[in-house]
């Protein structure tokens, strides 16, 4: 598979003091689900914010689909990052409180320039069904009228309706109860399989990452200390940090 995202020597410091990220190198290929795992403060979310354009790297490169987007801003960035979508931890704050969920999912298609209204409606209904929400029953509800798991389904529908190439999921299942988390994980696995999008799955939960991801990158104090296929990382961890993580998992 061809390369979709490449981070090279990415470096960022807050207020010139501590380095938040040092020399981050990471490659995600088309269709690849890569887990980015690390403890709080390790810099996971900072990487997501560099990708979303909220932060700008001090040095290094972010190449997405062949374009260097490191310092791109405005319309040029929007053109270059077509196909990126995000899902956050808290589906409530990442949805519009006042709009029916079907309209919010449709908004993604409007943004991506789908002019045909009937086509939009058709795709919204299809994706809502795909995430397990009956469009007739739930489409006209506002987020307050849904449970936490249903809201996260809407957030995933809004992110995937326009067929993304890269989904950035920042702790997307961390706030959910185990049975609900299981449903959302199943959904992400099925959607990434059927739609073929790549995913940067950011999480602190090794169990979740080990279940879902093709590749794992372990982030520790702003550095990627280990990267590899999930199976290899879990059976034969190289870095002491990863070994400690895996040992904690394996404990009876």
């Amino acid at each position: 598979m061809s390369e979709l995202l490449r981070l090279t020597d990415l470096r960022l410091a807050y207020t010139g003091e501590r380095l938040v990220l040092r020399d981050i190198d990471l490659v995600i290929r088309e269709g690849d689900v890569t887990g980015l795992i690390g403890e709080s403060g390790s810099g996971k979310t900072t990487i997501a914010r560099l990708l979303s354009g909220e932060l700008e790297a001090e040095s290094g490169q972010i190449i997405y689909a062949g374009t260097d987007i490191t310092h791109l801003r405005g319309a040029a960035r929007r053109r270059a990052t077509q196909g990126m979508a995000m899902v956050f931890q808290d589906p409530y704050t990442s949805l519009d409180t006042w709009r029916p969920v079907a309209a919010q999912v449709e908004e993604s298609l409007i943004i991506r320039g789908e002019r045909d209204r009937d086509e939009r409606r058709r795709r919204v209904a299809a994706i809502l069904r795909a995430v397990g929400l009956d469009p007739e029953r739930y489409g006209s509800r506002v987020p307050a009228e849904l449970s936490g798991g249903q809201r996260q389904r809407v957030a995933i529908a809004a992110a995937t309706v326009a067929r993304p190439r890269l989904l950035i999921a920042d702790e997307a299942v961390s706030a959910l109860d185990i049975p609900v988390q299981a449903q959302i994980l199943n959904l992400l696995a099925l959607l990434s399989g059927s739609m073929g999008f790549a995913c940067l799955f950011i999480s602190h939960d090794l169990n979740v990452v080990s279940w879902l991801c093709d590749h794992v990158a372990v982030l520790h104090e702003g550095e990627i200390v280990e990267y590899g296929e999930t199976g290899r990382v879990f059976t034969n961890p190289q870095h002491p940090r990863t070994q400690a993580l895996v040992r904690r998992l394996a404990r009876p």
């Binding site: 354009g53 990442s94 006042w98 908004e107 993604s108 506002v142 307050a144 009228e145 957030a155």
Partner: protein, 563 residues
């Protein structure tokens, strides 16, 4: 399902009455055709009667009809003021909030200057320069109202600009224009709606005050304030002349305020956490097992209720030297159960039945004072959220000292020594430095250990640990868990609440599975987690993601009934 977007009843009533008033103000003078507002000295200052419900004024005009006519000026000036203030506020606030930085600084200093100048003086200054009159009033008052609107809009923009929702649509590729108009502005308008209603009330009051002082509407026109001005000279001769304009001002302003606060409520109702869907079928309760006579904590058929029952007659026990893991989803009643044991139930949640026995005593039988002392000496509570459970303004050493003092230690040196001992016990390096630190200067893991130290201060027999590791990273979580393990070795009983089955598996001797306020399964950890007896426990276990389960769907049970 109940819609949450409807206005509270009081607000709806206020809105209807305001609309009726508006209709009357618009229509009545037209229907009357000017007959009742013609000057007629013969009808001068007549008291209220069937012909003139509110009486007549000094020129013999019907006051009721005059009020409707005067309402046109008052309400149109108020509306014009708000429209102007709101539009100017939107522009200033949006520019300020959306661009931030230097633009924001400049606009906000201008705003502050306007705000710090007494607004009525500002309006007076304007009117003196421009002269009285409808348009001059709107201009002067609009300027006066702009800063408050600008502030509301700016705050809204600031909050929305960095919200996950806006970032999400930006990443999708939405243009700044679309982000602003489609995704931010509607939310700002919701915020503005209550500010508009309250601003309307203030504008009516300001117009009335200015006109009453003779500075607003010229004598040739009529407004409610102007009528009050005219009525001054006849206050003893014809009190109704002043009373009715006064009443209608009060009435309208009150309605606008009610509408405003209802709109505020509407706004806050939408940020409440979502409703948890009610259980399809009430799960079966695990059969009541008589606790052993020497159980440290015995809970017998405990029922808790807020608006509705949240815990339905559950029974549990914790023995000395034992950790009971209480697992379940959020909202299943785990925390409420622990709070009931510690007699810390939040306002609005009551115990509706059941018995709690702690170290052989039923605390309910003690007086309030004795119960507090008893619970303080027997029960240590370790909360989940270490940042909110600590006082942000006190060094943590002082807060632990407070818990030590409650155990009866009085000597300052002894308390100090005990605080350091407790901090060492929970593996905090440099306990003296930690004791002097404020909560925010510590990491999450350190704060959680401080809480544990506080819970241990009284050497309690029973520790209630409510998700003590939920916010912690692996290694720090381990330290807290190991300390709990050591406390068990020392013979303490621990009720360990968690949603994490892995941790419970490692730590607990027995486990109780809670769902929708009922205990569905309870038994030795090994037994419950390897040979679960209920569908729900099986579902929980099958939902746990792991490396071993790769490639299999989660939550699907193998060799069990469907969930």
């Amino acid at each position: 399902m109940k819609r949450r977007r409807t206005l509270p009843r009081g607000g709806r009533l206020a809105l209807v009455l305001l609309l009726l008033l508006l209709l009357a103000v618009l229509l009545v003078p037209v229907i009357d055709g000017g007959r009742s507002t013609v000057m007629d000295p013969a009808r001068r200052l007549q008291p209220p009667s069937a012909a003139h419900l509110f009486g007549t004024d000094n020129y013999g005009r019907d006051i009721l009809i005059c009020l409707f006519e005067g309402g046109r000026a008052t309400l149109s000036i108020a509306a014009g003021t708000i429209l102007l203030g709101c539009l100017a506020g939107l522009v200033i606030g949006a520019l300020s909030g959306f661009f931030g930085g230097r633009v924001d600084w400049l606009l906000m200093r201008f705003n502050d200057a306007l705000l710090s100048f007494p607004s009525i003086l500002l309006a007076l200054l304007f009117i003196t320069v421009l002269g009285g009159g409808r348009w001059q009033l709107i201009l002067a008052m609009g300027l006066m109202f702009t800063p408050s609107f600008a502030r509301v809009v700016r705050t809204g923009f600031m909050q929305q600009r960095s919200s996950p929702h806006v970032i999400r649509v930006q990443v999708m590729g939405a243009s700044p224009w679309r982000v602003m108009t489609v995704h931010i502005l509607p939310l700002i308008l919701v915020r503005l709606s209550s500010a508009i209603a309250i601003g309307l009330a203030n504008a009516i009051l300001t117009e009335s005050s200015l006109s009453f002082l003779g500075l607003g509407i010229p004598p040739s026109e009529r407004s409610w304030g102007r009528m009050l001005h005219d009525a001054q000279s006849f206050i003893f001769e014809a009190p109704w002349f002043a009373v009715f304009p006064g009443l209608i001002i009060v009435f309208t302003v009150l309605l606008a305020f009610i509408l405003g606060s209802a709109l505020t409520e509407l706004r806050s109702a939408t940020i409440s956490p979502g409703d948890v869907p009610a259980p399809e079928v009430a799960p079966a309760q695990h059969p009541v097992v008589e606790p052993p006579a020497d159980a440290l904590l015995g809970i017998h058929e405990l029922t808790l209720a807020a608006d509705e029952e949240v815990v339905h007659g559950i029974s549990l026990h914790v023995s000395a030297g034992e950790i009971l893991g209480l697992v379940g989803e959020s909202g299943s009643g785990k925390t409420m159960t622990a709070l009931a044991v510690a007699d810390l139930l939040p306002r609005g949640v009551r115990r509706r039945g059941g018995r709690i026995q702690i170290a052989g005593q039923n605390p309910d039988l003690l007086s309030a004072h004795a119960r507090r002392r008893y619970l303080a000496s027997k029960v240590g509570f370790c909360y989940q959220d270490a940042l909110t459970a600590l006082n942000p303004l006190l060094p943590v050493g002082r807060q632990i000292a407070e818990s030590v003092r409650l155990t009866g230690v009085r000597d300052t040196e002894a308390i100090r020594a005990r605080v350091l001992e407790l901090l060492t016990k929970v593996h905090l390096a440099e306990p003296e430095t930690v004791a002097r630190a404020l909560p925010h200067e510590l990491s999450g893991g350190m704060r959680q250990r401080v809480l544990l130290a506080m819970a241990l201060a009284a050497e309690p027999d029973l520790i209630l640990a409510d998700e003590p590791t939920a916010a912690l990273d692996g290694e720090t979580a381990d330290i807290v868990l190991e300390e709990l393990g050591r406390q068990r070795e020392q013979g303490r009983g621990i009720l360990f609440i968690s949603h994490d089955i892995d941790i419970v598996r490692r730590l607990a001797d027995r486990v109780a599975v809670m769902r929708h306020g009922r205990i569905v399964e309870c038994g030795p950890t090994e037994e419950v987690l390897t040979r679960p007896q209920t569908d729900y426990t099986r579902l929980l276990l099958a939902s746990q993601p792991s490396f071993a389960r790769r490639g299999l769907l989660l939550g699907i049970q193998t060799g069990g009934e469907k969930p």
